[in-house]
Symmetry: C2
Subunit: 675 residues, 2 copies
């Protein structure tokens, strides 16, 4: 190309270069390294290389783009447009040729490395770069005088036409290749998986001719309580459907340690739990496929994140070692398996990528949170708390990241609470208590109205209980209204000045809702307060232990992760002392960060290498054998805390200095759980 | 090491070096690159590093080896000897230390790259270097403050103690690793498979502690008619047992083309044949394991050779494309699979290596012959003929190798012969006809005596028929005795002067055996002669086509391969004109060269790379579409040949110039078969 040749400028990249008349736009783009997609290799079939030329004066670029700057429509383009249609002004980059200076825009959907849209703006971008891609190739016909296998000629075509040398394939491909090649008249579309561990580039499917459809991937967050799956289009990165089911292992034990115990006490118990979770996963695969109305056999990849016990049980590894020091994982590295090895039926050559585990108590789910929230890239010191039955906690910045897990138990999810229930329609999820009248108002899931607003009863329907975020708000509001003291004792009617505080055995309870013909009476008992105290103390103690290790007394910001974390009110969480004192506007929710991490690893193969590297740099802190954990736990049992002043919190929230202790009772029994 | 340090000389390698006092013999050997085995890594457990020190004056080496040149026996050696025993004079190389100049012999069984003994002296050596080896390692115990998975610490141990970086493993290893490590007190023996296609180094088994046993491999020659398996000890290279069974696919068609036809005519026919052969292979695996009294789960590898149709049917690939030009293979490269992919139960992580195919009619069996007989290393021009239902033919020397296959049909194996039978006790295998009296004598399988010797009847028992080598000798002898003319016609009693030539329809037959109370009458009919003519003409025509391509009229030597090839008399083969004229002493038998090639690939991983490279250099000649094949075939129908003088043969064998053609009949119908 010389300076006299036409100048081609691509937007939005701004890449530019001179090309001789007659150069195809796709070729120009490739020579400049412009991100322009093509599946069919420039044969006018796939339309992935659509571009939008602009004409007129472009003083910004210093050129004038004449209406005839590109060649006239050729037969291939005309035919494509007449059959498939093409947005006005668009051209096929593999057909249109450069005739003069021109500005050419590459629309987002024509970029190979598309940016996947995420809901919240402050989270990291996902750049689409999946491990499995489609390639259209033309294969040489066999020649008996130069004999070579059909598979070897397909591999040669991939090497020559797509720069994919040394492809491998499994037996199934060899069994189906010959009819596909002949049916497609020696043109086929192949799906190639490029991943560590199964060979550099593996042919996993062959379609005769040009395959019009797409291929899919699943991001799965396998939690102790729930299993969530996101079905993604691997060619656009879009989430087509998300679905969740309960983990059927709950019947073997609510928390992790009870499942490990089940395995230890019952020969074959681990295998039983493995079968249960794999069966549920298959049901989930079938469900998301049905919801998206796709063939499950088109799901070619899945990514899993899970805590270590779930991880081992998924893999069929007895988790017994995770139940006792030194909490040895059977394997900690990431792994790539065939779906069939996990008894999952999707694409017959589907691969499964499982993120690495950080430690015996800090699993692939925490690794996924690290991938999604990227504490290792943070300028300021961030505390990330993934709230669940077992909390995973990360603390760090771009210099250093620490991790631990803490056995909060299921109280935050509404279990072990007298009126507790899982988050579902009818559950109280928001609570306010008037500090003067001590009267409550609340909202239930499924209704936008507060309980003191007109039409609430009709809209809310039956009120069934209180969910995790509801109990946190209720107790925090009780603390701010002076109904519960720092030690966690609920005051009597006499002490608090409200008849809603009623005796319940040797302690008191606060009546949140009197009940009516259809809905039960809902109270917060002192036992409920104790359960939440244990859970939040464990959470705080874990975070505090990491802060000790980091040598800091405060953090710059807090991220609440986990499906439940999305619903926690930062102020109420801080009043309870779940998290350290912090500017409340610096507390944000990341939603299901583990699930997001799984989705990132699904859509961007490089992110897998990134998280593997990140995990190796994370310093693991083992809470179970750390004496200071117990100290921190005891001090954190108070609401918000026995020794920490929570000065920032006090500036925005009343924390009345009441005490309802009349008989020296204190703090409740403490016990240690995992799960 | 300095020149003042003791001089250590290893035999038989002659490697020598100075080492400081106290150096362990194993360490000295390793530093010098002496081939001294060790599985336990020098821990005095495995005894693989046994050496034999010699003492006295060694003028040849210029040193005197004093009786105290090695350290005294230490506790480990004493303990080993008391428990396991040790040959007098032997020491453990990992325990004995150098104290002075010494000559140390490494006995053959202590060499890693042992030479495997082969029966015939003129064949290539096999150097033991299997893809799967055992390694004893000590693994770091888990540390919760430096968490890592047990598998990752095992990998680290293999990297550090055995220089095996980046080992991978399958899910089964992860499932069984934790109990094995704890049972072995963090010492385990692992089997590591190093092969292309499944990752560089894959852990396939873990035994707690030091594993005393061995591991096994199978070399399998999957023929159209028979399947032969050799069970080898992968630590010594010894063949423990060999066993063969009939290929059950025979019921779908005797030769290859009839099986391809079966697949084309019957939907599901290919799958049916795949199931049949896999079932038979499993039975064969179980049989060889039972014969050797070993657990089939200790068979960690198998190598297969097969012709292309057998190859495809084994893999579950419909062979339909192999039945028509251009005879496209689904895949031609070598491949590595899991045994489970072929429904074979042996070690659960056993791998299968299948040699590459050369062309649509020249399969992995021919590749194995090329590996075993190495025409590409030959100084002189060698013709290698693998005689079977389909003959594979190789011609070449170190400059160039050509290959083709030829459809000889099953006549050479006794099929299509009136009294024909497979080689089994009671079958006539050797024949001589007195050129003067025209009287025959013969030997049968199972007896050392000729039929005219005393005691023959008692020793031979019932005579049941005539096998492939028997019919070849019979017809060649008939030709030399003037009973059959060059065109293949058997003369009448009047023409030949013997009453043994009797009418049979419009032609004649020769009575080889009159029959008695228990044994049937056995004759050679003119139809038998025709069947052999067709088969041998196809064989010769293939060889001749390669000679044309090579531009030669004669070859320096001929190798007869194939299980049947071992029994063919070179002179008789040449009288029949099966092979081109040649000095008869230059015709040798290689036995089952394909099976030997499989065994080489099993025992020496480098041989796999070698055969893959060799196959790429072989020039394939397709007989099916070559017009000259038909010309050669017609000329080769005569006995020995219509136009070739066979001058070398005539010098040693009478070829009477008789003609029994009285009615213009000639040569018989010609037809073309494959298989």
């Amino acid at each position: 190309m010389s300076q006299n040749d036409p100048l081609v400028i691509f937007t939005p990249s701004g890449k530019r270069g001179h090309f001789p008349n007659g150069t195809k736009v796709l070729d120009a783009a490739r020579q400049l390294g412009v991100d322009l997609d093509s599946v069919c290799g420039g044969r006018g079939i796939c339309s992935k290389c659509q571009v939008q030329p602009s004409f007129g004066d472009f003083s910004k670029h210093g050129i004038t783009s004449q209406p005839d700057a590109l060649s006239d429509w050729n037969a291939v383009e005309e035919r494509y447009k007449s059959i498939r249609g093409l947005i006005d002004g668009r051209r096929l980059g593999c057909q249109a040729q450069v005739n003069g200076d021109v500005v050419i825009d590459v629309p987002p959907e024509s970029q190979v490395h598309k940016q996947v849209v995420r809901k919240s703006a402050d989270t990291r971008e996902i750049v689409l770069d999946p491990a499995t891609r489609l390639y259209y190739v033309e294969v040489e016909e066999p020649d008996m005088h130069e004999p070579s296998g059909d598979l070897e000629r397909l591999s040669k075509a991939l090497a020559e036409q797509w720069n994919l040398p040394n492809t491998t394939s499994d037996l199934r491909i060899m069994q189906h290749l010959q009819p596909a090649l002949r049916q497609g008249k020696w043109k086929v579309t192949v799906a190639v998986y490029q991943g560590k561990g199964l060979g550099e580039a593996r042919i996993i499917h062959v379609w005769p001719g040009y395959y019009e459809g797409t291929i899919y991937g699943l991001a799965i967050d396998l939690g102790s309580t729930t299993i969530a799956a996101h079905l993604c289009d691997l060619q656009t990165g879009k989430v087509l459907t998300s679905s969740g089911i309960m983990n059927p292992q709950i019947r073997f034990g609510e928390d992790l340690m009870s499942r490990v115990s089940y395995s230890m006490m019952n020969p074959g118990g681990a295998a039983e739990m493995t079968t249960a979770v794999r069966t549920a996963l298959q049901a989930l695969v079938n469900t998301v496929a049905a919801e998206a109305i796709i063939d499950p056999a088109l799901i070619v990849e899945a990514v899993f994140v899970a805590n270590p016990v779930m991880h081992h049980l998924l893999l069929g590894i007895d988790p017994v070692e995770l139940g006792q020091a030194p909490f040895a994982l059977a394997t900690s590295d990431s792994m790539t398996l065939w779906a069939s090895e996990l008894d999952l039926t999707m694409h017959p050559s589907a691969s499964i990528y499982i993120l690495p585990c950080i430690a015996g108590h800090v699993g692939a789910d925490a690794a996924a949170v690290a991938l999604s929230e990227a504490p290792n890239r943070s300028e300021d010191l961030v505390l990330i708390v993934d709230v669940g039955t077992n909390a995973e906690i990360l603390l760090g910045n771009k210099h250093k990241v620490l991790a631990c897990s803490s056995p909060t138990g299921p109280a935050f999810e509404g279990a072990q609470i007298s009126s507790g229930q899982r988050a579902a329609p009818g559950a109280i999820e928001r609570v306010e208590i008037n500090p003067v009248t001590k009267e409550p108002r609340f909202r239930v899931i499924g209704s936008e109205k507060w309980s003191d607003e007109d039409g609430f009863t009709e809209e809310a329907g039956t009120i069934t209980g209180i969910c995790g975020s509801g109990i946190i708000e209720a107790i925090a509001e009780m603390r701010m209204a002076g109904l519960v003291d720092p030690s966690g004792l609920i005051g009597s009617a006499a002490q608090t000045g409200t008849e809603r505080c009623m005796p319940n055995g040797r302690t008191h309870e606060y009546v949140l809702f009197e009940g009516d013909g259809t809905s039960p009476r809902i109270t917060v008992t002192n036992g409920d307060v104790r359960a939440i105290q244990l859970a939040k103390a464990a959470l705080y103690a874990g975070a505090r232990l990491l802060m000790d290790q980091m040598g800091v007394d405060e953090v710059d910001r807090v991220v609440l992760a986990g499906a439940f974390g999305a619903h926690i009110s930062p102020k109420h969480a801080m009043v309870l002392g779940m998290i350290p004192d912090c500017d409340v506007e610096k507390v944000t929710s990341a939603g299901n960060a583990a699930g997001t991490g799984a989705r990132i690893a699904l859509l961007n193969a490089a992110a897998r290498r990134e998280v593997e590297s990140t995990v190796r740099q994370i310093v693991k802190v083992e809470t179970a054998v750390e004496p200071r954990f117990q100290e921190h736990f005891v001090a954190a049992s108070n609401i918000p805390h026995a020794t920490d002043a929570y000065a920032k919190l006090r500036a925005i929230a009343p924390l009345p200095d009441v005490s309802f202790n009349t008989n020296g009772e204190e703090g409740g029994r403490r016990r240690r759980r995992r799960g």
